[in-house]
Symmetry: D2
Subunit: 120 residues, 4 copies
Amino acid sequence: MTTELEHLAVRLREFARARDWEQFHTPKNLVMALAGEVGELVAEFQWLTADESRSPDPDALARMRTELGDVTLYLVRLADVLGVDLVEAATAKLDDNDRRYDADLYRGSARKAPPSPRGD
Amino acid sequence: MTTELEHLAVRLREFARARDWEQFHTPKNLVMALAGEVGELVAEFQWLTADESRSPDPDALARMRTELGDVTLYLVRLADVLGVDLVEAATAKLDDNDRRYDADLYRGSARKAPPSPRGD
Amino acid sequence: MTTELEHLAVRLREFARARDWEQFHTPKNLVMALAGEVGELVAEFQWLTADESRSPDPDALARMRTELGDVTLYLVRLADVLGVDLVEAATAKLDDNDRRYDADLYRGSARKAPPSPRGD
Amino acid sequence: MTTELEHLAVRLREFARARDWEQFHTPKNLVMALAGEVGELVAEFQWLTADESRSPDPDALARMRTELGDVTLYLVRLADVLGVDLVEAATAKLDDNDRRYDADLYRGSARKAPPSPRGD
């Protein structure tokens, strides 16, 4: 049974093939395209306060949705070209984080914020 | 029926709740965390040639898989907090691209590369 | 008279030459390295509130300084390899912004925030 | 004597003050704006080959120059708001790299590429 992500991946293969764009879809180029789209996504939030970001107005949310779509397309395409299963990779990382960041140790007063970036 | 992405989203909600980290998971913070992980993913490719990126050695591929997992986790969490369906958003964008970048017009000699960034 | 940035650029040319790394310093690779370092810089701020970001503790500020240094090195190196004068490019853009975003029109109640990303 | 970067920083302070935008220029927001601009810069290179990136056509180079200008503006503004001297930070990092990546050890056959990202 094809999952939603596999279906997207198949459509993206066909999209590239039909336009003879596979030559441009090296992982190196695709990760750059992904970074470009994430940049556009970040830009939608840059002037918002934390609270405004929790409740964006309809136009802002529509733009966020568009950029999230672009990010997802390049992420799926990149993973497919590399032969990586995104859900498997994400699940493995989450299992790992569940072990490393013990809930009792990291809750409330024990630690005030998610671990610093260099701790992962 | 729960899809794989919904299952990940539910696990991530629980992960944040158990550690009392929801306060830090504003969309503003989550998109920054996503950008940070995409930066780590890009770094895995920065010194590779296009061909090397197509066939990474096992260690490099393992690191790419790890970073792809991290990127996926933050993307799913961000979308969930915003109430955006990633597959729906991606599919809508792909349908849109299918129309805009007509295969006959954009194949082979008609155009040599995917459209420039400012054309999307 | 050599400016500070030109001095950095010259040192970076020598740094790459001495290690025979010029072959890796294509603009394509350098912009990826820059993106990777900006990702590390963003990560230093991702869990901070706006106020905490205005007054980071000494350790956090030291890490931000380190990452700002890394970003600057790759930005200077990339511009040098491309033959672009960073200060000239920045000044031209600022002159342009001064004209486009008229102070009287964009102050106070006239507009509540810097223009949306798609307006630049 | 004011350096070029200090002059840019002073102009940027005035630019924000005149429009009453200082409230939006928290380091958290500024680093996001920087990330957004770096994303636009990366996008200018994403479909280019390594060689094409070494010799971009005039239009492409003009767009790269524009984005390099935008990146520089936000980098200078962010550093100024944080009170970080960019040239000092970059120089300290370069001195450090000169020591850590000994030229004799890292040249030619000794190492084929700059150190992997996780080694910095």
